[in-house]
């Protein structure tokens, strides 16, 4: 690992001032991805700004929202009583991610900022437009079993690896960020980007902005019939091939509203608004659930080794919806 300077400010303002002063500086929180990337020479910041002393760990009930501090640990959020009661989908997704050791280190903000696990991104001798813009995409015609089937471009077919983010996208969360210009809120579904021609940009966070809080609507309708299903190569501790975050608001046998998002299939958590709209107001029967699952893959495209996801996605959606509605 190339050596670097290290500072540990104690206020958000000091942290933001520090990053504005130094173009090669990076924030570090849990470090579970950044340290990995620095060891491999994929990222080489000349200064690390350790933000762990900032007061951003609170998990609390607000007016109509649940607020989660950006530095709350993944394990603390997953075990928190308020989260398990009000946002069980988020708790399930967090528990499906990584291992307990990593969840004890990883923060909510860091989870959002983690980079793709595309092996070509980590292998510094291979072309990769995300690591080295303009060098080409090795995955496009390479071993792309883990890669995207939605929203990919010729420049990049990597996926965002988070479980937590899939639940937050489904639950209409917002991201609050601070900078020297003040605060702004970003819709969670607008936080991460599609690769397009600039896959080096994972998200829409601007230089000098610090994630401080995640705000999730306190919506009782999406706190009962929820399920996070994760399909992976082993039973635990592996990244998703496909994951589904689903929440259904059901009265009697009618689906009032649905929230559906996929993980492991795109450069960002992939919200399924077409399938959600299809299910709205419809009876929760097997035919409707099947149609919703098929609608979800209408715009999907495989790249060879990942063609199996074209079947796995609708099957996983259907299985998830059947389980939630008691039809399985």
């Amino acid at each position: 690992m190339i050596n670097f300077d290290y500072i540990r400010p104690s206020t958000p303002k000091a942290a933001i001032d520090a990053i504005n002063k130094d173009a090669s500086a990076q924030f570090i929180a849990g470090g579970t991805n950044l340290v990995d990337l620095m060891k491999r020479g994929v990222m080489n910041p000349q200064k690390l700004i350790d933000i762990n002393n900032l007061p951003l760990r609170a998990i609390e009930q607000g007016a109509g929202v649940i607020r989660i501090g950006a530095l709350a640990l993944n394990s603390d959020v997953a075990e928190h009583e308020l989260i398990n009661k009000k946002l069980p989908l988020l708790a399930q997704a967090l528990k499906a991610g990584a291992s307990q050791q990593l969840r004890n280190m990883a923060t909510v903000g860091g989870n959002m900022m983690q980079r793709t696990r595309c092996p070509y991104f980590y292998d510094t001798v291979m072309p990769c437009n995300k690591r080295n813009p303009g060098s080409g995409c090795s995955a496009l015609k390479g071993y792309n079993r883990m890669h995207a089937i939605f929203g990919a471009s010729n420049a990049c077919i990597a996926v965002h690896p988070s479980d937590m983010c899939v639940a937050l996208a489904a639950l209409d969360a917002k991201v609050i960020v601070s900078s020297s210009k003040g605060k702004r809120r970003i819709l969670f579904t607008d936080f991460h980007r599609l690769p397009g021609a600039t896959p080096q940009k994972d998200n829409n966070l601007q230089r000098g902005e610090l994630i401080t809080t995640i705000e999730v609507p306190d919506n009782a309708a999406f706190a009962q019939r929820v399920l996070y299903t994760k399909i992976r190569d082993r039973a635990s501790y592996a990244f998703a091939l496909v994951s589904v975050a689903a929440a259904l608001d059901i009265k009697g046998n009618t689906i009032n509203a649905a929230r559906l998002a996929l993980g492991g299939v795109a450069h960002k958590p992939w919200r399924l608004t077409t399938a959600e709209n299809f299910l709205k107001g419809k009876p929760a029967n097997i035919t409707n659930l099947q149609q919703a699952a098929q609608l979800a893959v209408r715009e999907a495209k495989g790249f060879g080794y990942n063609n199996f996801k074209l079947k796995l996605v609708p099957n996983t959606i259907l299985q998830t919806l059947k389980t939630i509605t008691g039809l399985s």
């Binding site: 190339i2 570090i28 340290v35 060891k39 690390l48 350790d50 307990q100 004890n104 635990s236």
Partner: protein, 213 residues
């Protein structure tokens, strides 16, 4: 990096014929003595390539490791794992993948299990670290260590320190109530010899024993 530290000190090699526990006890005691004096710390640092050392500014770090206070000086890039093994000679914590994928380097920081290979030492300033060397009380092994021996919870033994540190935390967290839960919450510790069934048995016995860990 510290080329001197690549080789076991002679005293340590001479003690290899002794009981393993005695060996560990002695080497951690040696490390503790060495660390007690800032002058000795500096002397050990002179083993570094002087040119390389000159470029990097070291940062002071204070850590409590297995109940012993250490005032240390480290480069920001040094991981907690490398600090434990190479500077403090606490080689019970193992380097498996060094990329956060295997769990061999699991230690407790402020009571929580974490991966020491993904933790920068400088970021642990002021914290309490427990390693496998800190589990036993004198000659008395920790109940989880006893249970791993009884149930043959290892074969080659390389993943074992990480498995045991993770297992102790797993029971303390309340995540060891049945086999399925144990397997889920121990999934961050890989055993390529495949001793998982025996590890599950060991943890189950300790959990059912209900003693304070």
């Amino acid at each position: 990096m510290a080329n001197e530290d690549f080789f076991e000190p002679e005293e340590k090699l001479n003690s290899l014929h002794r009981a393993r526990r005695q060996f560990l006890k002695q080497s951690s005691a040696l490390a503790a003595i060495a660390m007690a004096s800032p002058a000795l710390v500096k002397a050990a640092g002179n083993g570094l390539d002087e040119k390389a050392a000159g470029y990097f500014e070291k940062v002071p770090v204070q850590l409590e490791i297995n109940g012993v206070q250490h005032k240390l000086s480290v480069e920001p890039r040094v991981t907690l794992l490398d600090l434990l093994r190479e500077q403090l000679h606490l080689s019970g914590t193992k380097k498996g993948c060094d990329f956060g994928q295997c769990g061999a380097c699991t230690v407790h920081v402020n009571g929580k299990r974490v991966l020491s290979c993904m933790s920068l030492a400088v970021m642990q300033d002021g914290k309490k670290v427990t390693t496998i060397e800190g589990l036993a009380t004198g000659d008395k092994l920790h109940p989880m260590q006893e249970a791993f021996i009884k149930h043959d919870g290892f074969q080659c033994g390389y993943c074992t320190p990480g498995q045991i540190m993770s297992a102790v935390a797993c029971v303390r967290e309340g995540h060891a109530n049945n086999e399925q839960e144990i397997r889920e919450y121990m999934s961050g510790n890989i055993c390529r010899c495949g001793t998982y069934p025996n590890i599950v048995d060991a943890i189950t016995e300790v959990q059912k024993g209900g003693g304070a860990l």
